[in-house]
Assembly symmetry: C2
Homo-oligomer: 155 residues x 2
DNA sequence: GCCTTATTGTGAGGCAGTCATAATAAGTGC
DNA sequence: GCACTTATTATGACTGCCTCACAATAAGGC
């Protein structure tokens, strides 16, 4: 639980490598995202404030945006949800969201390596240089499936 | 250009099949989305108002949301963009967005049939019943690539 | 045509995130 | 260790996208 010190040095080094200063705010945000993957900015703020009570929401937005541009964080936006952040970058894993309760699960890439980086283009499309492919599965998780089959349980 | 009448009957039938009344507002929205695929609600409103000037933004939101739930429209949300709508449903095609200019291109499914509907789950994940898989490619389109290589062209 | 009720219009309001500017503190050289 | 420069964070106001509650309208069945 307090092993964030282990990551601390790695985060600091990565920040320096990108020409960024090592601030406790950034470290707090990174630690919060690491311990609460798939969290929106608001939850990250709450988590980071436990060790840095004066941190403001705006700073979190700035830091999250900057770290995402640096590819130190990954950001994705499920439908009807604010943006979620996670520290798993580099591997091309995907996400499954439950359309009922909003749960998010990690999903390994279906093919094992970047499968979708070579799309088949429409005949009339201008091909783009693809950088990343995000796969977003939408379905119903086991819990919600059970609940919906028992509507009498509702309240 | 005025072949929307051809789709008109099909839309009306589909609406009835879902127990919805056939209103000119819904038909105008459907026609607008068909003629302007990958458009946000605001653009759909503008297009639909050309044939229905009194249509309100709120109605468009309601109609879009309802038709999306009915799977008559498909909705997807690229990062840093409002939700976009299209009439292509049923086939599992995907989308590529240019991170620079926001252009959206359709991409045929890489494997040709629903490839990603059988994800490999993490060992500790609870599998969900997957309904759809949205693949979102992010890259740089040819135009933007050229522009970025010629920064002197800016302004 | 009349009636019922789904659908749309109206106006207010909320959440997520952004912008401009001032205050702060990290990194650098002495 | 201290002053300095400038990146970074805090403050407060603000925007865009969308939702909610309720009144007005019109589609579909008779």
């Amino acid at each position: 639980m307090t092993d964030s010190t282990g990551s601390h040095d790695a985060w600091a080094a990565a920040l320096r490598a990108h020409g960024r200063r090592v601030t406790k705010q950034r470290l707090a945000v990174l630690a919060a995202v690491e311990h609460h993957p798939h969290s929106p900015a608001e939850a990250i703020l709450a988590a980071a404030r436990q060790e840095l009570p004066d941190l403001t929401a705006q700073s979190v937005y700035v830091v999250l945006g900057d770290l995402t541009d640096l590819h130190m964080l990954r950001r994705f936006e499920p439908p009807h949800s604010p943006a979620l952040y996670e520290t798993r970058v580099g591997d091309n894993h995907h996400h499954a969201v439950c359309v009922s309760c909003g749960r998010v699960e990690d999903v390994e890439c279906a093919v094992g390596h970047a499968p979708c980086l070579t799309p088949h283009w429409d005949a009339n499309a201008k091909p783009m240089t693809i950088q990343i492919a995000d796969v977003l599965y939408q379905g119903i998780c086991q819990d919600c499936q059970r609940t919906q089959q028992l509507p009498s349980e509702r309240n």
